[in-house]
């Protein structure tokens, strides 16, 4: 597959969304709603469940499965209240030293009047800053599209993993082609230039692990569950200050 084919694959209908990941890898998930400021953003699904018997706070950007569901979740385009909900849930996890798992799948944070009025920039900026100094282990997995700042808002983690046909990019290839070359037709070229595929990102040390998808079979989810549990187990006894320092160094290297 070339880069553009992977871009299309990362957006493909039928690809598992965050809610499906939550169903497959957690047990007893209880969803917690709202940012306690303005609203409950359905583009972000957050709550607590167990993974291999250990409680984990899971926060996912949900695109929705079918058309009605996509509309309900605003196609995974998060409003400021979504980032504020995520932040609130992360702080709650921190208080009880419970690990945080973020599942990232968004074409980008929502662009609109309400989003600007309610401080989209401030919400994303705070989310990055709070997550990067969170005193509890955090792992982010890009499961589809990792669209720019909207994805980074939930990806300032100890490690960032990505599934093999997911992407993570500073701008969509369409946006890049139209801004840089004033030509939306050059989207294939832009896809390649941006180095946004899982393998490219791994080569750039932007992600720690590329996850083999295995057709999103039960085996894939079983493996993922084991890997996530093992990751949090490895971080369990790291003192919070050391965890924060290691995260600082992770992002300092870029």
């Amino acid at each position: 597959m070339n880069a553009y084919e992977i871009v299309l694959k990362s957006r493909e209908k039928g690809r598992p969304t965050a809610v499906q990941y939550i169903e497959k890898i957690t047990e007893g998930f209880i969803e917690l709603h709202g940012d306690r400021r303005f609203a409950d953003d359905a583009a972000v699904v957050g709550g607590i469940g167990t993974i291999c018997g250990k409680p984990v706070t899971v926060i996912g950007i949900e695109k929705g499965a079918d058309t009605a569901d996509k509309i309900a979740h605003n196609f995974g385009c998060v409003h400021p209240e979504g980032y504020r909900k995520a932040m609130r849930l992360m702080k709650e996890a921190e208080k009880f030293h419970r690990p945080v798992l973020c599942l990232v799948d968004t074409s980008g944070a929502y662009c609109g009047i309400g989003a600007e009025e309610r401080g989209q920039s401030e919400a994303i900026a705070s989310s990055i800053m709070e997550m990067i100094r969170l005193k509890t282990p955090a792992l982010s997995i890009i499961i589809g599209e990792g669209g720019s700042g909207g994805a980074l808002g939930l990806s300032a983690a100890d490690e960032v993993w990505i599934t093999e046909t997911a992407t993570y990019s500073v701008i969509s290839p369409e946006g890049c082609a139209s801004i840089l070359w004033k030509d939306a037709q050059k989207v294939e070229e832009a896809s390649a230039c941006l180095k946004l595929t899982a393998n490219d990102l791994f080569g750039l040390h932007a992600v720690e692990r590329v996850l083999e998808e295995k057709g999103f079979s039960d085996e894939f989810f079983a493996d993922l569950k084991e890997s996530v549990a093992a990751f949090f187990e490895s971080k369990k006894d790291v003192p919070p200050e050391q965890l924060v320092q290691q995260r600082y160094e992770r992002f300092r290297k870029y």
């Binding site: 944070a109 662009c111 309610r118 900026a125 870029y254």
Partner: protein, 257 residues
């Protein structure tokens, strides 16, 4: 020497323009300032730091090397930010100032690295940071590396803040995208220059997304203050004075007495 106001088109003597801090005496339009013009307008005894930091074309992005080389020759700057240490109203502080002439202050590795170093330097020397922000956002030619600058700078801002030190960001026209969604909005005090366009998405992108015209004044400094996201709006001619006062109110070292 004379120049033409980019808004009203009137010819203004350059000296007169300078006397008015780059604000058109005829129509009041705020001309964009280079990074160094901005610093000299607000600070004294400025000494530049990290001038040697210059990144590379990490992704091998086509045409990017040529673009950078041309801009370096044209502006005399290595990239879109000037950093250093100086005094504002007699208070020593670390300063960064972004330059519109360099791809509208977009943030790639060099810009992110210099700003991060500025915060680390300020943390180490226990200095406040004053940042003059001007940026269209992340620099797409550096792909994921430019996105990572948002996280890197944010981490450095957080550490500086945890050390009990003051950070004032001055948002100027324009402040959007990845810069807006990182260190621009992580300050203790967020100052917005009068009339500046400040937002996450640019107005054209929003209009294309929602397929309607945006109201007059949308995403301008005044709108931001009204919505609760800017502490104060400052006119250019009073900026130095406002910064001086705020720095003094926060200053606890004897050097300021």
């Amino acid at each position: 020497m004379a120049e033409k106001c980019e808004k009203c088109g009137k010819i203004i003597l350059s000296d007169e323009m300078k006397e008015h801090f780059g604000v058109c005496p005829k129509c009041g339009h705020y001309k964009k300032l280079s990074a160094r013009e901005r610093i000299s307008m607000c600070a004294e005894n400025f000494g530049e730091l990290f001038a040697d930091v210059a990144g590379e074309n990490v992704l091998g992005f086509p045409g990017y090397d040529e673009k950078i080389a041309a801009l370096r020759a044209k502006t005399g700057e290595k990239d879109g930010v000037v950093c250093g240490e100086g005094e504002i109203g007699g208070v020593r502080c670390a300063i960064f100032s972004m330059d519109y002439r360099f791809m509208m202050g977009s943030m790639g590795h060099t810009v992110g690295e210099k700003i991060t170093k500025t915060f680390e330097y300020a943390t180490e020397h226990r200095l406040p940071v004053v940042g003059f922000v001007l940026s269209g956002g992340a620099r797409m030619q550096e792909g994921i590396i430019s996105l990572m600058q948002m996280a890197k700078t944010s981490a450095a801002v957080a550490k500086h803040g945890e050390a009990g030190l003051l950070y004032i960001s001055v948002l100027t026209d324009p402040t959007t995208g990845g810069v807006s969604a990182s260190f621009a909005f992580e300050a203790d005090i967020i100052m917005a220059e009068k009339g500046a366009l400040i937002g996450f998405a640019g107005p054209r992108v929003i209009e294309q997304t929602i397929r309607q015209k945006l109201p007059e004044g949308f995403q301008r400094a005044e709108f931001l203050q009204k919505k609760g996201f800017a502490d104060l709006i400052v006119e250019r001619r009073e900026m130095k004075e406002k910064l001086s006062l705020l720095l003094r109110y926060h200053n606890t070292t004897e050097a300021a007495q």
